[in-house]
Structure formats: structure tokens, C-alpha cells
Symmetry: none
Subunit: 408 residues, 2 copies
């Protein structure tokens, strides 16, 4: 069942409960060989195992059967927004992630600096993964030497990390369904932005973006590595219904990477600033803001990164690092804790995958099932079965007493 | 979750993978007595058990909870078409099954020769299951002696098997929601065709069909057994979205019986001709066309036939015959194999039933679950739980790497 907001908006009620959604990005895995264990099954996780034993378990389906999620849609789904209904551009997520104050007239795009050869064919889609400092310099160069002012538009070029930047075009009449310039493989030329909506607004916006891209490539032409760029995920903020309004909770997001801050902000969560990038730093941040919020989203990135690297052992160790913060988390006396991943990233596949994600619900009023450990196969025998990720928040609200009775 | 085509049409991508959907019609069963085993649990199936052990398991729900499927809807569901949304007339399926080239203006009906008494009450709904030769003679007689030419319509009367034939009326302006003439029990008179759509087209079509039925019954009146007939499933080809387009796969159907060829053809699969009617002949046909297609639907009929006969042992043996072709199937090196049934046909009930159907998914990237055998109770503990049959193809596409990532 894909859960929507309809009934919850009317039932949500405030109380003193605290709900924690602890997300290990790309948590789900696969055995590397026949009869082997997954990353999570291999990891020594006494604290997570205890929570699984005391809680109820299952596997969450992020999008649809067989569908591998991107990070944005996978997070929206955990936040209870069906990503097939709410399709958010990557540019919007990146812009929000770097703290850009995106307005309703702004069109955002994720940019990648790239290298092209003398024929204009892409030879490196990430410009040799230039340093973030280099990225900052290139963005300043583009900001100073490109302009759409003659068309009546402001532009903002903001660095993200390494070869990644954000382009925002601000002004009235932007829109459409815009294609990306990245050919996705090397040896091909970048593509023009095209509009697939068939609207005048879309055609206008595509022309405007292409005009900027041509300027920008001319400005970059003398660069040794980042002599070109591509744009992806061109879109405006869709104006999502706000998590905080629907569920009547003050919500905080604790994440290291921009993307995840962005998606949390998009649904109305406050992004918490903190020093450091390890799970222990995130739990320290959680402690600091514990009294100020009702709901806490904690995002652990490196489980996914190691999965994408095919580094089974490092992913195992990162899961163990998360296990070690669990006592500190539980010491805060949360009412309900969900431990899950946004999707699977098996080291075996070196990529995101469609496999349902082990998920546990822990709390005083959770009905314990027969599961005795946190893992793929353990969760398969759990009480929740396979459930759509949009159901996570609603179950947590129930366990936290935050939903009024439906009818008399 | 009932899966629809929306998101998949955008994500489907081609690759070199091969997907096999092996359907044992009516596979699901029941114990004949308390503490007994089902047909599948009784059968000696070392190869299927191995696939269950290496794969992931669950039970598929063809239509809706508690609903017993007909063969057409059950197959549509496995092919990812929700049969509640896509309601296909039996006449269309039968016509396609015998290779009739059904056009967009054609109305098709499944016909049954029947016996009526002097009062016009049905005494045998199948006219004593007359031979196919007899059926051919009767169809020729009807073709020669009935006509709707004065109304501007062509008619085609085509034999199927035994007492079954197909009527096709060709011409413009046909349609409506037409009721059937078969009273479904003996001792009652056939019913007139009525239109339930309330449209002028429907009323016109019902009158036209009733006019032909009256002619046909007059022509048959002197027959000793087949002195009447009934029409069922009167409808036009609904023009389904094509499986091959949605999923970007070349799809082949390997089946012995017309009905299953028909439903496969309806969604755009190529029907493969071959000699013989045993599982080994079907696997030989599979081998022959292996390089020409990406997706293969293999249909085994007799599991269902024996179930309907109440012949528990024969159904067991047929399942074992299928188990014996598994090594040849796996020798082709398929990427993903689904083994399932379209519905249950427990010998105990001598009919189709609503019980969810044991289903296994096998392949390199399938997460193995804890199931160690292929059977009703074994699959109940599988990772897939009970899932709607429309999810089968999407999962297989995921396992085969045939779906692009959803979002960034």
C-alpha cells in the first residue's frame, strides 16, 4: 500500500513524544557469493540486533517493485511522499542542499564541470573530479562572465563539491519539462536542453538555458580540464505539502551531505548545523537539539558510498560505527525509533538497487515480532513483510500516539 | 500493491538479459485431507527446490483477495495488466488463440454448441462434448446458412475444439457491454443478449447478435446433439498497451492451448509454433528461439486440467515432468526465471480457486531467502510474502537490470 497524506493530516495531534528516523544510506546488501552473508548480516551489531528483537521488522520498498531509486525520490518516500507522484528535480535538491534560498520563480539545475576534446565530444563527465577549490574558482569565473540580464533574468552559479555546482535562473515565466545536456557516456557531444511539455513557457526556458550554456562553455574553453559543463535535473521547487504541517511535528534533519539536507528542507524540516562528519558527531548534534524538535531525521552517508565503491568490508565497518552510537541514541529516551535505509546499495552490484530495505521499528508500544537480529533475511521473517516506504512515518506516528482515532 | 505500467514505460531499457516466465497453470493446490500435503508439496521436485533455495519466494495474488480468476484475467495479471482494469472478453481471447486475425471493428464471441429439449431448455451445455470434426462440420453449416449481410456485416464462424467455436461479426458501429446467452445450468432456456452500456451502439449490437443467434438455432434445429448454441464473452479487442513496447523486450509465447496463445498475442508477444504438447517439447521450442527474444512465457496446461479433474496424482506427476525440464532450461543460462502458476486449481476443489500461488524468482542478483523448497507452505515463509501478480514482471526486470534508476 502506498500511503498518502489524506487521512493523516486530519488525525495528526501533538504530544510530547520523540520520533527518530535513522537512515543508513544504501543499507540493503547482497551476499558476494552463494551461501554468503550480506554487509548488514556480516556486521557485528549487538545494539541494532537488540532493537530488532524488541521491535517489529520488515523490508521497505522505496518506489515500485523492481525500481532502483535515486537518493532524492528514496528520501521523499521515507518522508511519506510517493515519489512517483512528487517528482523533484535534482537541481532543486542540490540548491536546497547548499543552503540556497530557492524562491518560487527560480529554476535550478545541477551542473557538472566536464572535459571535452577538440571535436566537442565529452572525454570526462566529471572533469577529472577537480577539487572543490577549483570548482569555487570556476563558479566565480562563470558568475562574472556570463549573464542573462538582457533577457531580464538573474543567474546564480554556486559551487557544491568537486566537479558539481548549481545553476539558478531567477525570473518570471520559467517552466516546462526540460531535458538534460549530459550524454551520460563519454565520446559523445553534450545535448541541447529541450522542452518536453510543449508549452510556450517550456520552449522559452529551454532557449534561455541553452543561451547560458553556450556563454558558459565559451568562458570555460581555455580551462585545462573543466573546459565544458553539463546540466541535469532542471526544474523549479514544486512546492510540496509540508511534513511539519501534515504531521504537526517540529522536524529536524541531521545530515552531512547537501542532497539530504536539501530534500529534508524541501518538505519543511529544519537543517541542523554541526561540526564533524561521523555518526558520533551526528548523535552529538541530535542531543543538542533534542528538546527543540519532535521528529529527527538522521542521515548516514558512507554506507552508500562504500556500497558504490564495491567495498564490502568498509560498508560493514560503517554499519558497526552506527551500531555503536545506538546506546547514546536510546539514552535520549526516544518514543519511537525507525532504523532503515533509503534503498539498497549492495557492494556486489556497486550501485543502488531495487532490493527492499531491512527496516526496524522500536518503541514502547511496538508489538515485538519473532525477529532476533537486524539483517536482510532476519527482516524477511518480520511482522511487517514488504511494505511501501511511505508507510514508515504513519506507523511511527501511531506508535507515538500522534494520531487521533479515526471515527467514533 | 497493484503495479501499473506508468513508471516502467519510462524506465525500461534494453540489455542482453533473458527472462523466463514458466507458468504451470493452476499450480496451487490444497491437501486432500487434514495434515496432508498439496500436489506441489507431494511432487518430487529437486530442481525446483534448488531454485527456491537459491532464489526468493512468495505467493502471488492474481486478482483481488478471495477472487477466483478465469484463465484470461489470471494471465493478464502475470503479464502486469491489472485484470480489473483490463477486462478482456473471452471471445477475443479464443479468436486470437486460433490465429484469427481480429481487427479493430470485429466483435468476437466464444460459442458453445449445446443440446436443448423440445421446450427449448438446455439439457447439455456442451452438446455431449461433440468431436472437433463434428464442430468443424457444424461451423461450416452455420457459415453457409446464416448471414448478417442485409445489415451490412460479415460473419465468421470458426471451430476451436470439441463443442467450442468462435463467432466474429465484422463491421462498423459494434460495441456496448453485452450479456451472455448461456444460462450456466441445465433445465433453463438460453438468455437473450442484452446491452448493459446503455449506448445506442450497444443496443444495436445486442439486436444484431440476437438476430444471428435466432438464425443459427434454426439452422441447427435438425441436429441430433448440437441443436442449439450459446454465446459468451462478447467483446472487441480492447487494444491493450503492448508488453513489448512498455518493457522494451522482444517477447515469445510458448503454449499448447489456443487461449494462452491468444492472451499472449493480445499484449504483443510472438506465438512460437512447435510440434508436440509435452513440457519437453516446449523447452525444445524455447531453445530454438532463445537468441531471438528477450522474454519467454512458457505455459504448461495439464497441471490445471488434472486439478479440474480432481486427479491429484496426475497433477503431481505433471509437476514432476516440469521439474525434469529445469536443467535444460537453466542450461540456456537465463538471467532471471520466475516459476509460478496463473492461479490455483486444487484437485480437492476440482476447479480454479482464489488461493495465492507459490512463486519463485531465481537469478544472479536475487536476494536468497530462507526458503528451502518449492511449495505452498515453503513459499509462505518467503521474502516476497503475498504480492499482487502484476508485480512479477517488474521484479524480474529489476533483477535483469532492465530498469533505469528512478531519479537522481
Amino acid at each position: 500500500m502506498i500511503t498518502d497524506h489524506g487521512v493523516y493530516k486530519h488525525l495528526a495531534q501533538k504530544n510530547a513524544s520523540k520520533i527518530v528516523l535513522l537512515v543508513m544510506d544504501g543499507l540493503g546488501g547482497l551476499p558476494m557469493h552463494v551461501n554468503g552473508l550480506t554487509e548488514l548480516e556480516t556486521a557485528n551489531t549487538p545494539n541494532l540486533d537488540r532493537m530488532a528483537r524488541e521491535g517489529t521488522n520488515g523490508r521497505s520498498l522505496p518506489i515500485r517493485p523492481g525500481v532502483t531509486p535515486g537518493s532524492g525520490p528514496a528520501h521523499l518516500s521515507m518522508f511519506s511522499y510517493d515519489p512517483v507522484r512528487y517528482d523533484i528535480g535534482r537541481g532543486v535538491l542540490e540548491a536546497l542542499g547548499i543552503g540556497f534560498d530557492l524562491g518560487p520563480d527560480d529554476l535550478a539545475a545541477r551542473g557538472n564541470f566536464a572535459t571535452v576534446d577538440e571535436n566537442g565530444l565529452v572525454t570526462d563527465r566529471r572533469a577529472g573530479r577537480i577539487s572543490t577549490e577549483e570548482c569555487v574558482r570556476l563558479c566565480e569565473k562563470l558568475q562574472a562572465n556570463t549573464s542573462l540580464a538582457d533577457e531580464g533574468y538573474e543567474i546564480f552559479i554556486e559551487p557544491v563539491k568537486e566537479h558539481r555546482f548549481v545553476l539558478v535562473i531567477r525570473g518570471e515565466g520559467l517552466g516546462g519539462e526540460l531535458t538534460e545536456t549530459d550524454p551520460l557516456v563519454t565520446g559523445k557531444a553534450p545535448l541541447p536542453v529541450e522542452d518536453e511539455s510543449g508549452t510556450a513557457e517550456g520552449a522559452h526556458t529551454a532557449a534561455l538555458v541553452n543561451k547560458w550554456v553556450a556563454q558558459a562553455r565559451a568562458v570555460l574553453a581555455d580551462e585545462p580540464r573543466a573546459n565544458s559543463l553539463n546540466l541535469r535535473g532542471l526544474a523549479k521547487d514544486p512546492g510540496l505539502p509540508q511534513f511539519t504541517d501534515i504531521y504537526q511535528m517540529r522536524a529536524a534533519a541531521i545530515a552531512v551531505y547537501p542532497m539530504y539536507k536539501g530534500v529534508a528542507q524541501l518538505v519543511g524540516m529544519d537543517v541542523i548545523d554541526f561540526e564533524g562528519d561521523r555518526p558520533k558527531h551526528e548523535i552529538a548534534a541530535l542531543s543538542r537539539v533534542w528538546e527543540d524538535y519532535d521528529f529527527f531525521f538522521i542521515h548516514i552517508k558512507k554506507t552508500d558510498s562504500y556500497g558504490e565503491d564495491g567495498n564490502f568490508d568498509a560498508k560493514v565497518h560503517e554499519i558497526e560505527a552506527v551500531d555503536q552510537i545506538i546506546p547514546d541514541l536510546l539514552a535520549l529516551d526516544p518514543t519511537v525509533v525507525i532504523v532503515t535505509g533509503d534503498h539498497s546499495t549492495p557492494a556486489k552490484l556497486r550501485s543502488h538497487s531495487y532490493h527492499p530495505v531491512p527496516t526496524l521499528f522500536w518503541g514502547e508500544d511496538v508489538m515485538p515480532d519473532n525477529v532476533s537480529a537486524f539483517g536482510e533475511r532476519a527482516s524477511e521473517t518480520g511482522a511487517m513483510g514488504v511494505f511501501h516506504a511511505t508507510g514508515m512515518i504513519p506507523w511511527a506516528l501511531g506508535y507515538a500516539g500522534r494520531l487521533a482515532r479515526f471515527g467514533a
